[in-house]
């Protein structure tokens, strides 16, 4: 089940060759982040606190709706990972 993951621009400079848009085989956002962690070690820490749980200013949307780590993905779901507006 391939998901179309869109990453925030603050994340991509932190990892070598990390694109803004990645296709991953995942049934939930959690699995998508697991796969991103496998390809770019350390990436999970940038999106999740230990637990893991999403960091308070990192929001995930699945097909336009606010989602959590275990929200089910449909085939070809779009997953937007957003660095929420935060301070100045």
């Amino acid at each position: 089940m391939m998901a179309d993951v869109r990453l925030p621009p603050t994340l991509t400079p932190l990892f070598v060759n990390l694109p803004r848009r990645v296709e991953v085989d995942a049934a939930t956002p959690r699995e998508a982040i697991d796969e991103l962690e496998r390809r770019w070690p350390g990436l999970r820490d940038r999106l999740c606190d230990p637990g893991p749980e999403l960091r308070s200013h990192i929001h995930v949307y699945v097909d336009g709706d606010r989602a959590q780590l275990d929200t089910p993905l449909e085939p070809r779901s779009r997953v937007d990972v957003v660095a929420a507006i935060s301070g100045g």
Binding site: L14, D45, L47, H57
Partner: protein, 356 residues
């Protein structure tokens, strides 16, 4: 001619300034993707640089560079407490004896033995009086720094000191297994449930010439120790304010020490808008104002705890950065000053290295 390198930690990244003559400076940066950087250090043995950072979006990490700050990578592998405790920020760094130490909030000290690639928890100062209350945000001063400073012993790898913000100064001689509060003789103008702790130590420095000589700028006063921190006596008399953050000790004279007094309460800016560094050359018996070249009116600037430093040239240079982004330098122990950067983000730390 040796290169003098300044490492500036700011609310929007790390900057580097370099000079061969301490008069003409070149600036590079911002580095670390403009993350908030609390402190940047350079390991004297390896030449690696480390920056303690905390992004509101992407969490806390230590950035590292092995090419004098041109390129940086980050890691937080292992930089996490167990259970419910969270690392909200990495507040302080130190390096010595082949390892890097990181002080964090919630209060803890982590170490890296592989040049900052991975980290492991060394100590949370368990067992210290009142330790169970340190994590409560209601008990913490503004800033919530946790371990606000770390100071290794250059001769003994298992001995080092830590400041817990709003709690006090602590020494370990067994690599963090046990700790001893070193706050005897300090003043506190507030109730304290425990005799040995409850002091607000802002900045502490140790003479490289005399390891028993320490100085600290406290929330209430400037204090000196002649016995390696076992006891303290106050040397505030003669300063325009008992409050301040920054402190620096002369590298070649144990009796020469510098502070930047600030108005206490809400202001925390230089008294009467008159920028100055204050110096004692007799261990605190008398003080002199150093202000030549600094703005002497309408300069309502503040300097935070890690933002005053001194180099180790034969005639040492002093440097301080303000919380409104100005950076000042003196190549002659504070006698003459010049503004070497004017429009940086709020400055949180200034560190210096002299490279041959």
């Amino acid at each position: 001619m040796p290169l003098t390198m300044l490492m500036i930690g700011t609310r929007k990244g790390c900057f580097v300034l370099e000079s061969e003559n301490r008069r003409d400076w070149r600036m590079r940066g911002p580095y670390c993707e403009s993350w908030p950087v609390y402190q940047t250090i350079r390991d004297a043995d390896s030449g690696a640089m480390f920056a303690a950072a905390a992004s509101e979006w992407h969490g806390s990490a230590v950035w590292r560079s092995t090419d004098d700050g041109e390129t940086w990578t980050l890691s937080s592998e292992g930089l996490a407490h167990d259970g419910e405790r969270k690392v909200s920020k990495i507040s302080s760094l130190a390096s010595a004896h082949g390892r890097v130490l990181a002080g964090v909030e919630a209060a803890g000290i982590f170490q890296s033995l592989d040049g900052g690639e991975t980290w492991s928890l060394l100590s949370t100062l368990e067992g210290q009086p009142g330790r169970e209350g340190w994590d409560d945000p209601a008990n913490q001063p503004p800033g919530h720094l946790g371990i606000s400073a770390l100071m290794p012993d250059p001769d003994d790898a298992s001995r080092f000191w830590a400041i817990v913000q709003g709690v006090g100064f602590f020494e370990t001689t067994d690599d963090g297994k046990t700790w001893t509060p070193r706050n005897r003789g300090l003043r506190a103008d507030w109730p304290r449930p425990y005799d040995e702790v409850g002091f607000c130590v802002h900045r502490l420095v140790r003479s490289p010439l005399d390891p028993d000589r320490m100085y600290q700028q406290n929330h209430v006063g400037v204090h000196r120790s002649d016995d390696g921190g076992h006891s303290w006596h106050e040397i505030t008399d003669g300063l325009p304010s008992e409050f301040g953050f920054g402190a620096a000790v002369h590298p070649h004279d144990r009796d020469t020490f510098f502070v930047i007094p600030l108005d206490p309460l809400h202001a925390r800016t230089m008294p009467e808008g008159h920028a100055a560094v204050w110096c004692t050359r007799d261990g605190g018996d008398s003080w002199a104002r150093l202000d030549k070249g600094l703005p002497q009116e309408n300069a309502y600037v503040g300097v935070l705890r890690a933002a005053l430093t001194i180099d180790d040239h034969e005639v040492p240079g002093l440097y301080f950065g303000t919380s409104t982004g100005q950076l000042f330098a003196s190549a002659d122990e504070g006698e003459n000053w010049s503004e070497i950067a004017s429009y940086l983000p709020p400055i949180w730390s200034v560190e210096v290295a002299v490279l041959d």
